[in-house]
Symmetry: C2
Subunit: 254 residues, 2 copies
C-alpha cells in the first residue's frame, strides 16, 4: 500500500504532519508538497519555469518527503512521473480552513486531489474548518478511516472526495454526511493602500453576500457540526442545452 500526501499550506504545515502520521498506519507514505504556502493556487501547473525537488526530514514515519517549488497539482505529477510506482491513494491536506462551495474551484488542496483523479488514482481532499487554531486529531482520524475504505472499495471513475471537518474535538463531532457543493456569491471588494513610495496596491477583501446553504449542502453540514463529504467530478460540459445555443453560436441547421 502506497499513499501520496500533498497539500497547499506547504510541507511544514501541521495538518500535513498529522495526516502523514495517521496514513503511515495504513501503508508506505510518500510526501511531495509545496515548499511554501500555495492557498488559492487553483488548478495551476507549471509549464514556464523549471521545477525543483528537495528531500526533507519530517517528524513522521514517511518513506520519502520532497519539497517542491511547484503547485499542489504539480506535486501529484512530480510524484507519479518517470515511472515512479503509482500510489494507491492521494490524500491532500489537512488544510487549515474549509474548502466549501465554489472554494473548490480555487483551492490548491482540492486541485491536488483532482489531479490525482485525472490520473486515475483514488483521491481525497481533507480540510478542517478553522484558520486560527485548528484541531487535527479528529479530522486525521476520520481521514484514515475513510482512506482505508476507499482503498478497499475504490471510488467511481473521475470522482474524488472533498472532506470538510468542523473544528471540534472528536467527542463533539457529528456524523459524516454526503453533501452537494453549496453556492455563494461575493461582493468583490479591494482594500486599497499605499506603499512607502506612494504607489497604490490592493488586497482582496470581499465577503459572501448570498449563499445556497440549504440542507444537503457542504456549507450546511459543517455549520451543523457534521463531517461533510462531497463527491466531486470534473466533467465541465454543460448538458442543459435547451436547443437555442446552436442558433446562438451560428451552427448551421442540419
Amino acid at each position: 500500500m502506497r499513499i501520496l500526501i500533498t497539500n497547499d499550506d506547504g510541507i511544514g504545515a501541521p495538518g500535513l504532519l498529522a495526516l502523514a502520521r495517521e496514513m503511515a498506519e495504513l501503508g508506505e507514505v510518500l510526501v511531495v508538497a509545496p515548499e511554501r504556502q500555495q492557498s488559492a493556487a487553483g488548478h495551476g501547473i507549471t509549464l514556464h519555469k523549471p521545477l525543483r525537488m528537495e528531500p526533507m526530514s519530517l517528524d513522521a514515519p514517511v518513506v520519502e518527503a520532497l519539497a517542491t517549488n511547484g503547485t499542489p497539482a504539480d506535486c501529484v505529477i512530480l510524484a507519479t512521473a518517470n515511472g515512479r510506482p503509482e500510489p494507491d491513494l492521494v490524500v491532500s491536506g489537512i488544510n487549515m480552513g474549509a474548502n466549501l462551495a465554489e472554494e473548490v474551484l480555487y483551492s490548491g488542496t482540492c486541485s491536488a486531489a483532482m489531479e490525482g483523479a485525472l490520473l486515475g488514482i483514488n483521491s481525497i481532499a481533507v480540510s478542517v474548518a478553522e484558520y486560527a487554531a485548528p484541531i487535527f486529531e479528529a479530522s486525521a482520524a476520520y481521514a484514515r478511516q475513510l482512506a482505508s475504505r476507499v482503498i478497499e472499495e475504490g471510488l467511481p471513475e473521475d470522482v474524488f472526495l472533498n472532506v470538510n471537518v468542523p473544528n471540534l474535538p472528536a467527542g463533539e463531532l457529528g456524523a459524516p454526511v454526503l453533501t452537494r457543493l453549496g453556492r455563494r456569491r461575493y461582493v468583490n471588494e479591494l482594500d486599497r493602500r499605499q506603499d512607502p513610495r506612494g504607489r497604490d496596491y490592493y488586497w482582496f477583501s470581499g465577503e459572501p453576500t448570498e449563499c445556497d446553504c440549504e440542507p444537503g449542502t457542504d456549507v450546511a453540514a459543517v455549520l451543523a457540526g457534521n463531517i461533510s463529504v462531497t463527491p466531486v467530478h470534473f466533467d465541465l460540459t454543460w448538458r442543459g442545452n435547451n436547443g437555442c445555443l446552436g442558433a446562438l453560436i451560428g451552427e448551421p441547421e442540419e
Copy 2:
C-alpha cells in the same frame, strides 16, 4: 455596452490586441490583463500578496487598459470590484494555443471566463489552435459575431462558452459547432536537467496517450477544421451516486 477583455498570455499579446480591436466595434472596451505570461495559471486567485494595477497604452481603441501582477481570474475581480460598473460581457483571449478537453481545468484563459460567469456576467473564452504562427483575423471576427449574439440573447446561468478556432484563413474555416469537452490521458514525463551548479531541475514534458476524440468533442471539431464552442459549467458535484457512497463514507443509516 461595456466589454471587459482579459487573457493569460499577458497584456502585450497580439491575440488580446486583435480581440480588443474587434470588440471596440461593439462598445466600450476595458482591458485588465496580466502584465506577463500566465498560461496554465488555473483558477488561482491571489490572497497572499498585494496586487498592483498599472495603466498601459495599447494600440487599440480601448477606454482603459490596466496591467496587473495577478492571475487571469484576479483580473476579472479587479475589473469589477469597488463599485466599478459591471461589464455586459467578459471576453478572455485570444489565446495562442487551443484550450481543449481537460486543458480547460488548467487554462488561465478559461478561468477568467469562469470567474466572469461566477460573478453572473456573460463570458466567453477564445483560443486559436496554434502556438507558433497564429492567425487571429478569423477568430477575432467570429468572437465579435458571437459576442454580439450573446449580449443580445444572454447565456444560461452559470455557463460560459469555450471557443476554439482552427488556425485557418477565414475562407477555409469550417462552421461553428456545439461540442462537449473531450478527454485525454497523459503519461507524465519529467525532463531532468542539471543547472551550472550541478543541481537537478525538471521540466514537464508529457504527451497525451489516450484520447476521447470522438465526433461531438471539441478535439474532433477542431481537427475537422470547425470552430468548436463548448458550454462549460462549474457545478462540480458528482450526482451519479449509486447508493454505495453513503456506506463508504460511514454515513449513518436513516
